[in-house]
Symmetry: C3
C-alpha cells in the first residue's frame, strides 16, 4: 500500500487533474493554492448557473460547507448529481455540522440526494452525521483515536463511503478497514483552513486513482506531514505567519519519497 | 491599568473564547487567522439562517461592514439583537462609512437597533458617525491626534460605547477618559485588513473581560506594536509580503511581557 | 517608450490613485494587496447599491469575472456605465470565458454595453472573445507567441481597446502595434491570482496616464519581472509559499530603475 500511495504524488503532477471546488469564502484562496501546490488545477465556481458546466470537465468535486447558503446548497446539489452521473468522485467537507444546527438538515439532504465518495471532518462534524455516538471526549479518546474509529466506521457504513475523522490522530475508514495516521502538529489547528485544504488534497489524489482509501490516506497524511515539517524549521522568533508559508513550501516539494520518509501510519485489525 | 491589560493575553489563551464575525470578503481569512494567533477561536458565519444559532454560543460578536449587502445587514441585525439579549459584547467596524454614501443609512440603522459596545474605525468613518466635526485635516491633527480625540469622544458619548479612532496615533475614548496609543508603522496602511484585524483582536480581548476600555487598548495596541516589530526586522530586500508574515509571527508570540515592553501609551486629562 | 513607462512607477506612488475593483472571491485579498504594494489604493465594492457611488470617486475600474453571478453582472454594468460617462478607464479580466460556457453571454453583453479600454486574459479567454481563431496550440505557438499575437490583434480591433494575452510570453496589442514581453516564471501559474493581480497592476498604471498601451506594458511586465526575481532567490527547501511572499516583496520595491533593468521587451513590425 505504501508504495502505491507514494506513486500518487507523481501521478497528480503528470495528470494535472481539474478539481472543482464549491467551497467557503474564508479559505477559498488557500484551497486553490494547495491544489496547485500538489500539482492539480483548481476551479472554484459556485454559481448555480455555472456548476453543471464546470463539473462536467472536472476530475473530482469538493463540496465544502464552510460558509453555507441556500444558493450554495442548490449549486452543490446540481453539481453533485452531474458528478454522480459521470462517475466523478465527490468529497464532502461538512464544516460546522453539529456546531451549527441549521446546517445539519442541508448536509443530510445532500447525503440523501447524492452519492458521496469521501467525507472528511473533525470529530464533532462526523459524530453529528453518525447520529451522536461519541461518548468519551476525554484526553484518552483523543490520543488513542478509539472514539474516532467508531465514528469513522459508522459514517462509512451509513453512507457507503470512505470516512475520515481528523484530529490529533487521523482515522480513515471504509467501513471494514481502518487506518490510523499519527502525523500532525498543534499549529495545524491554529491557522484557518488546514481541514479544508486537507479535503482539497484528498480530492486531488481521488481524481487520479480508483482506490479512494489510498487517495484519502495520501491527502490527509500529506497535511499532517507538512505540518510537522513546517513547524520543525521555525525559529523562536517565528510563529503562525511563517508556519503557513512553510506549509505551502513543503506541499510544493512533497513527493513519494518525502512522503514515505515522513508518514506514520498503522492499520487496525 | 498596564498590569491588568498585560494579563489579558494569557486570559485569551486560557479561555479560548469563540468570536463570531460577520465580516467582509476581502479580509475574512486574515481576520480568522489573527483571531487564532491571539489565542481565540473564530467563527465566520454570515448566513441569516445561521447567525442566531452561532452568536448564542459566542463570547463576542464582530460586525464589519467591509463588503456590505442587504443580506449581510439582516444577518447583523439578527445576530446583534441576540447578542444584546445575552450580554455578548458587540464590536462594530463601520468600514467605508463616510466614503460610501449608501452605507451610512445601514450603519446608522444598526446603531439605532442594537446596543454596540465598541466602535473602531479610521478618522473619516468615525467622523461620519459623529456627524462631521473633523475640521483640521492637517499634519498637526494627524500627529497630535487632537481632532481624533474630539471625534472619539463624541462618538463614545453619542452611542454610549467605547470609540476608537485608528490612525498614526490611535485614540480610545469612553466619553470620559481618553487614551492615546502611539504604536504603529506606515506599512500597516499598506496591507489590506490591518484595521479589520485590529477589530478582531479587540473582540478577542473584549470576550474575556468586563473592562472594555482595557480590551480596546489591548487590541488596538497589539496591532500597533506588531506593526513596529514586523517592520523592524525587514531587510532592504523585503517588502509587504514579508511584513505580513512577520505581523502574524509577532501576534502569535505576543504575551503580556512583550506587550508591556512595546506599548507607548498615555492618558489625556 | 521605456523611459516614460519607467516614470509611471513613481507617478502611481505620488498620485496614489483609487482603483475600484469588482472582482472574484478567490483572489480579492491578493488583488487589494498588490494594488497597495504598487502604490495605489484599492476599493473592492461589488454591491449593486454601492458601485455607482464608489466608481465616481475612482481613477480606474477593474471588472474581473472570476466568480461571476447575476448580481455581480448588474454591478459591473452599473459601474461601467458611470465610468464611461466620467472617462474613467475600464480594465476587463474575462476569467474563465471559453472554459465556462454560461459566462460567455455575460461577458459579451458587458462588451456590448460598455466601452472597455483594456482586456487582459489568457489565450483561451481572449480566443473565445475573438470568436475562436487560435488554431495551433503546440509548443511553438506558446514559445513564439505568434498565435497570441493574432488573437490580441483581433480582440483589440473588435472592441477598439488594448488587448493583452498572458502566457509564457505576454502579448500587448492596440490593433496596430504589438509588443511582446518575455518576462515570467512557471511558478506564476502555480499560485492562484497572478493573472488577476496583473490586471490590478495594469489598472493602477492606467489610472495615471492617458497612454494605455504603456500602462498595459508596465502592469503585465511588472508581474513577469516580479515572478523572475521572486523565484531567483528561492532555496531548494522553499516552494510556492515563499514564492508568493517574495512576489509581494519585489512588487513593493519595484521602481522605474528596477523595471528597466528587468524588462525583456520587443516590438513587432
Amino acid at each position: 500500500m505504501l508504495q502505491t500511495i507514494s506513486e500518487l504524488f507523481e501521478l497528480v503532477k503528470v495528470k494535472n487533474p481539474l478539481i472543482h471546488q464549491i467551497t467557503n469564502m474564508v479559505t477559498i484562496n488557500d484551497c486553490a493554492n494547495v491544489t496547485l501546490a500538489i500539482g492539480a488545477s483548481p476551479v472554484m465556481a459556485h454559481s448555480p448557473e455555472e456548476v453543471e458546466d464546470v463539473v462536467s470537465h472536472a476530475h473530482a468535486l469538493v463540496l465544502n460547507c464552510g460558509t453555507f447558503s441556500e444558493v450554495t446548497f442548490q449549486s452543490m446539489l446540481k453539481a453533485g448529481k452531474i458528478a454522480n452521473e459521470l462517475g466523478i468522485p465527490i468529497i464532502l467537507d461538512p464544516v460546522g455540522v453539529g456546531a451549527i444546527t441549521s446546517r445539519e438538515k442541508y448536509v443530510k439532504s445532500i447525503l440523501e440526494s447524492i452519492r458521496i465518495d469521501i467525507i472528511r471532518g473533525n470529530e464533532s462534524e462526523l459524530d453529528c452525521l453518525a447520529g451522536g455516538i461519541g461518548t468519551s471526549k476525554g484526553v484518552d479518546a483523543i490520543h488513542t483515536g478509539r472514539d474516532h474509529e467508531a465514528i469513522a466506521n459508522k459514517v462509512a457504513n451509513m453512507f457507503g463511503c470512505i470516512a475520515i475523522v481528523s484530529g490529533e490522530v487521523d482515522v480513515v475508514s471504509n467501513g471494514e478497514r481502518t487506518v490510523i495516521i499519527k502525523n500532525g502538529h498543534p499549529y495545524l489547528t491554529k491557522i484557518t483552513g488546514t481541514g479544508c485544504m486537507s479535503t482539497a488534497l484528498i480530492a486531488s489524489f481521488a481524481s487520479v486513482t480508483k482506490n479512494l482509501m489510498e487517495a484519502s490516506i495520501a491527502g490527509i497524511s500529506t497535511m499532517g506531514i507538512a505540518g510537522e515539517l513546517a513547524a520543525k524549521c521555525l525559529s523562536d522568533k517565528e510563529g503562525l505567519g511563517t508556519f503557513k508559508v512553510n506549509l505551502f513550501d513543503v506541499i510544493t516539494l512533497m513527493d513519494g519519497n518525502m512522503w514515505r520518509r515522513g508518514v506514520d501510519i498503522f492499520e487496525e485489525y
